[in-house]
Amino acid sequence: MADHFWISHFLWLVPVVPLLAAGMLSVSGNSRRNRAVILTLGAQILSFILASLLFITVIRAQGGTEEVVRLAVNFTWFEFGDTALRLGLLLDPLNAAMLVMVTFIGLLICIFSVGYMSRDPNFTRFFAFLSLFSAAMLGLLVSNSLLLLFICWELVGLASYLLIGFWYQKPSAAAAAQKAFITTRIGDLGFFLGMIWLYRETGTLLFYDGGAGLLEQAALHGLATGTTIGGLALSTATALLLFCGAMGKSGQFPLHVWLPDAMEGPTPVSALIHAATMVAAGVFLVARAFPLFAATAGPDTVATALIAVTWVGAFTALFAACIAVAQTDIKRILAYSTVSQLGFMMIALGVGGVAAAIFHLIAHAFFKALLFLGAGSVIHGCHDEQDIRKMGGLRRFMPATFATYAIGMMALAGFPFFFSGFWSKEEILHLAQGWPASPIPFYLALAGTFLTAFYMTRQMVYVFFGNYRADQASSEKASESRPHESPPIMTVPLTVLAAGAVLLGLVATPAWPWFHHFIEGGAATLEFGKLFTAGTLGLMLLSIVLVAAGVGAAWFLYARTSLGTAERDPLERKRPGLYRALAQRLYVDEFYDATVIRFHHAAGRAADALDRFVWHGLVMAVSGFSVLLSRASQAVDRRFFNRGFDTGCETLRTSGGRVSRWHTGNIQTYLAYIGAGLVLLIVFFAWIQQA
């Protein structure tokens, strides 16, 4: 088998190639546009080719065996004391599949950006940041060390910060970037703590290390049996801390607030980072550390950490879907949809389906990138308009965008049979249904499915059907402001992504669960009979009915009335209170403003006041007291002791006058004296030394 692995020597190149591109671009001037495009695309293509080769290698090495191929290369970063701190790279089916997805979608989005960003003055810097992001994300995927993963994790956060705030002149963009960084860092503190805790308990941060790694039997057994405060197993406590990081990055409630705001960044960034790849990092982390999450002392219990993951995921899936129903910004709807879909992935992980989660992640990456780029095309075509109430009827102006967007929408909503989203969601629902701990997450997920179909139909109706509404608002230059179709450099990537969103479904149907076996080992066989087993068929019918109900309800509500900025939303007419609460995103941001942020500012002012008044005050009191004492003693001296000395002092003063001629007041002269004195002293001591 070893001969398959020559390619693994090139594993490190996958992240390093885009990193080099980023480095070269960041020191080159803004005028070198062509070079920026060539460097970025070249690096992306090279990474993609390498990733594909690695993927094929893993498939061939696995060859339908039960065993999961896992290849780790570890090295020492530095040594402290007697300990070597080791990092490593890893190749296994999980990250091989992810590598292909990230490089492929990254490449398409870079191509799209060449068109989308063509008029931006900071074109070069944009591609530098995009390359930095790719490098960090790919590094995160290939790391075999929790520490290296954390390092790349933070760099992904940095790239996200830079790209959200790319249009830094907009205060809202700068604020959104800061919010993203800080919110995810709150989660990252948990991650950090979990990491140093694991390090303390196991003495290693490598995932796989020939039996001595963190995720291997010996370490897991120790963690699952050891307990900490509150009777919590060590594995549970540390897994939950790592999950805090995942919640921040993957926008899970209550740390989801940054993700919708992140839509301030350029649309390709939203597509790449805040839909397809970066937000998936949290899901990937849980998938990577899944043995830790699942570790239990006894054989028949459900791990506590996984229960938490499931509940957080289920709640987020429904919660975000509700909010998406009442948004009017085309990108924000998609953003909340992303939060909701990430919740579905977390459910999958929580109920034990790593393959299901990763498959949904990859499928979602395709159709969400497609939807975002489609939205970008719409925004581009409508002259930077993002309010869906001012759109309408775009299917006539932008046929290519409409067709591809419709495919993305149907994949996301879970239209049956021909779309990857249907199969991936189906598998998650199937697993959730069989979860022994509680049936409720399954029902929450079903509700989420219904709402997804509902809000996506609503958006489609607003954007592509009916009449174009911006004309009514500003009719004076109607001909110029007509929406237009985007150039091929933008529509071609859309088409490719649409094809992916459809075809990908073929590799993970119950009839041929190839992907499942690729991730978890074992051979896939083609059996159409599996489609018609009672459990599978019943659930499929149920979810088809739910999707149909969602689409039907939205169509019924929105397609038959007039829409627009002037009009109230049809749902608002029916349930104004509920709609307003949802439109205000259920007041989570307001809640944080009123509690966490206010507390923060108050604590800052309190610490400042403590310094200025208490500590500084004490110092001043002490010094004031000393001054008072010295004044008193001066007074005593003058009154009682000085009189007699005065005459004596007079003599001193005259002689002092002579000496004072040396005091020229010229600092150079003084320093010359000092220098001379120093030399004399040195000579003196040297002389003493001799003696």
Partner: protein, 516 residues
Amino acid sequence: MTHFPLLSLLIVIPLAGAVVTALTPSTRAGLGRQVALGFSFVSLALALVLWIRFDSATGTMQLVERFSWIPALNADYHLGLDGLSLLLVLLTGIITPFALAAPAPAARNRNIYFALVLALQGMVFGAFLSLNFIQWFLFWELSLIPAFLLIRLWGGPVRSAAAYQFFVYTLAGSIAMLVGFLAIFLATGLFDFIALAELGRNGELTAALGDRFSFNMAPETLGLLVAGGIFLGLAVKVPVFPFHTWLPEAYTQAPTGVSMILTGLLSKMGVYGFLRILLPIFPEQVQAMQTPLLLLAVATIVFSALAALAQTDLKRILAYSSINHLGYCLLGIFAVATVIDPGAGNNSGREAALSGVFLQVFNHGLTAAALFCFVGLIEARSGGLRGLDDFGGLRKVAPVLCGLMGISLFSSLGLPGLNGFVGEFLIFKGTFALTGWAAVLALPGLLITAVFLLRILNRVFSGPLNANWTGLPDLSFRERMTVAPAVALMFFIGIYPAPLLELFNQTVIVTIQLLP
């Protein structure tokens, strides 16, 4: 003494440079700075020579120079170099030319300014190399004089108050320390750090204090009192909460180059004192008081971060940020004092914490100095304005300045890939293994630091360009050359810290072995 006295030479060069610079005619503009820079580069070269000559495979003192100096006090002229000293010598060698090249006050007598900076460098070198209390204390105290004059003569509008407060506060701390050492001398007849560490380790120091003084106190109480006096002197210097109120004033009022030296080097003298004196000589006392000391470290971290949040002056923010970062050093140092069960035989936690402290000392010196330099560069362009809200959108007109300062800010908040992260990771790793609760309590500091540092990026660099600064020039070539080495080092240490760790690794191991 058989070898060439390299260490003495290292102290003498900057002092000689100070004299030469002061005597340089001020008629030709810029000549004084060039002379001073020349001398500081010679010092840097010599520091690098020391690094090459240094044998990192042993943890003992090297290149030792020792001869009798004041026999009556049993005080030798005693210089030596171990990994800790070398690290700080290198830092001093790097920071001084950096500070000299930074924007200098445009007043008369600039040559004296440069000369005093060099004199300060000489004192700092002396303090990092001396192994005898009297000698060390002389350098420690003498360093105050140029620092005082630099603040007093070339500082901002309220320089006088700031300078006096700085001087008197530090001096008061030093007196407490001096009294402590006098007690030790009276009890043991020793001033030598290494010999005293030996006594401290065996518990003989406490016994000797008990024999010499009675005061109706137990020897342990006496030991604590003496250690407390020394702690006070060091605590003011670092500073440790709540002895830090002089610092924001002094850092804010000092001219840019001096702020850089204050934060980059003088604060390190305090940390150095903790590592060279308090921890080795008073391990029992530090262990006895470990919980309150750790609480002080946590308070230093959290309160200074919070206070930074409430500031609107860039220099004040950085000053509080500086206290915050030194708090991590203290956290690591006090955690190292944890009593380890000898049966466990695993020193990995202590080694991590101490290595982290060493790294943090270097990294903070570099990053904080760079940040003060950047603020100085902004001030030089804005005519002295440096409020958080005086700017906005500077990225548009000065992308290089903002980019490089942005990197330094991220280095300061501990972004992986830059230097700050490695030290903080090791400190937290070690502290968590030794005293988990203190690490957890200090953790919010990392978050608040990110908040106030990002706020600088947000308010100063982002947003619409402030109409006052449409003509603000970007960094000139000379200015880029000033900051580029520091930024390059941030990347280098962040990606490949092994050379730096290797330099002091044996010192870390030996220091820990000598702890009870």
